[in-house]
């Protein structure tokens, strides 16, 4: 026979556990909402008052391993780094949309930052207004969820490099980071430790010789 005081104690403890569970659940929901609000107020959000400009995006297509040019009218920030991030954000929004020719989850949030660094000239001096190196910092979630495969990873890298070069012609080289750190490969294949030359070269169909692609 269980004493009466133990039964009451057990019921009280059970009730306390239930209450604590509810409180913890609410705290978690609050934290999640706060996090989402923080993401929504990212400083690189394109201001709606900015007039729309023409932007050229190089859209990858897994079906025929090609990049096709798509010209869109977008409100873009004036700051070059914010502009580069907004362009890549739009590119990854298109990839995340249903019916995408190059399905990659993540959307605009895949690109955490884009930094533009002046490249030194032949004499080793960094010249403002000269060629630039773009450092694209992907989020870890994007790299983890990117489909694995040589073709799909190569196309992602090619489309990023060529989109930057098409809209910011001074960007001649591109490097990649994931969560601010160097990473060996994007999703197990394409090398992310190299510096990629940004130029308009695309993969070719199997009718010709092996050519095209991006030169590291």
């Amino acid at each position: 026979m269980i004493p009466r005081y133990q039964t009451i104690l057990f019921i009280l403890l059970l009730a306390a556990s239930a209450v604590m569970g509810v409180v913890l659940w609410q705290l978690r929901e609050h934290a999640h909402k706060r996090l989402l609000r923080g993401q929504d107020s990212a400083p690189t959000q394109a201001p709606t008052v900015t007039p729309a400009e023409q932007a050229t995006l190089l859209i990858a297509n897994d079906a025929d391993d090609s990049l096709s040019t798509q010209i869109l009218s977008l409100p873009l920030p004036q700051n070059p780094e914010a502009r580069a991030r907004a362009l890549l954000g739009k590119l990854f929004d298109l990839y995340a949309a249903s019916g995408s020719t190059h399905p990659v989850p993540g959307g605009a949030a895949s690109v955490a930052q884009v930094f533009l660094v002046p490249l030194p000239d032949a004499g080793g001096k960094k010249i403002t207004g000269g060629a630039e190196l773009a450092v694209v910092n992907f989020t870890g979630a994007f790299a983890s969820s990117h489909p694995s495969g040589i073709e799909t990873e190569s196309l992602t890298i090619l489309s990023v490099c060529d989109t930057l070069n098409a809209n910011l012609p001074r960007v001649t080289q591109v490097r990649f980071l994931v969560d601010g750190q160097p990473r060996a490969t994007l999703a197990g294949h394409s090398d992310l430790t190299r510096t990629y030359q940004a130029s308009n070269t695309v993969l070719e169909s199997g009718d010709g010789g092996a050519a095209g692609g991006k030169r590291p």
């Binding site: 079906a63 391993d65 197990g188 070719e204 010789g209 092996a210 095209g212 991006k214 030169r215």
Partner: protein, 258 residues
Amino acid sequence: MLSGIPISRLIPPAYTYPLLRSMDAMRVGAGIAFLALSAAVLPSTLDAQAPPAPAARFLVVIDAAHGGEDLGGRFGNQPEKAYTLSLSVRLRSLLTARGFGVVTTRESDATVNADRRIEIANRANAQACISVHAAESGTGVHLFVSSLPPAEAARFHPWQTAQSAFVMRSNALAGELNAALKNSGITVTLGRTALPMIDSLMCPAVAVEVAPEQPANPDEGAQDAAGIDDPSYQAHVAEALAAALVEWRADGMGGRRP
């Protein structure tokens, strides 16, 4: 029984060193005499009787990508590493049956890091290196060669760009594979990419990524579609690759010359 006991244990320590030295001297003397006799007598005999030296075996390195803890991509319930190993084993069997020497970087579900794979391939001094991959995106077989710019051959090559001296021959090998796969009715895509495994190889090297084959005419239905786990599709691809390597051998594209 004395045979298992070292001679130094049977002789008092004070005598061991000089005795062993004299025994060593006797052995060396006998060896020199034997070599001198051999040098005087054997060369003419060997010249007369030796068959012509057999041609060096045409060696192919097959790298089944991923393995062990490295799953690669995941397609349905199976990881990429299982498909690459399966195709690698098929290709090895076909090539061995055709008289090729084959070196594989893994024969089981083992973790082999990229540097170890490269070391195995580069030590083999192979005439062709094939890195096998699988993907769910795209159609047919994707052939990738290194995107490194071609460079002159040198005595030493930087590890990360060793392939640059072989890019031209890798392009030729990709062309051979392309022709054979297309002749087999498989959709082929050629491309260049920055793949660490390929960029460090010192042999004509191509990454072969096998994706599902879509029907030539989608209106005909899904009967012609073949998934990468379809054994008959894998066998078809392996046969085409083997045929291409037979052509590559016939073209005399051997050796480590870039």
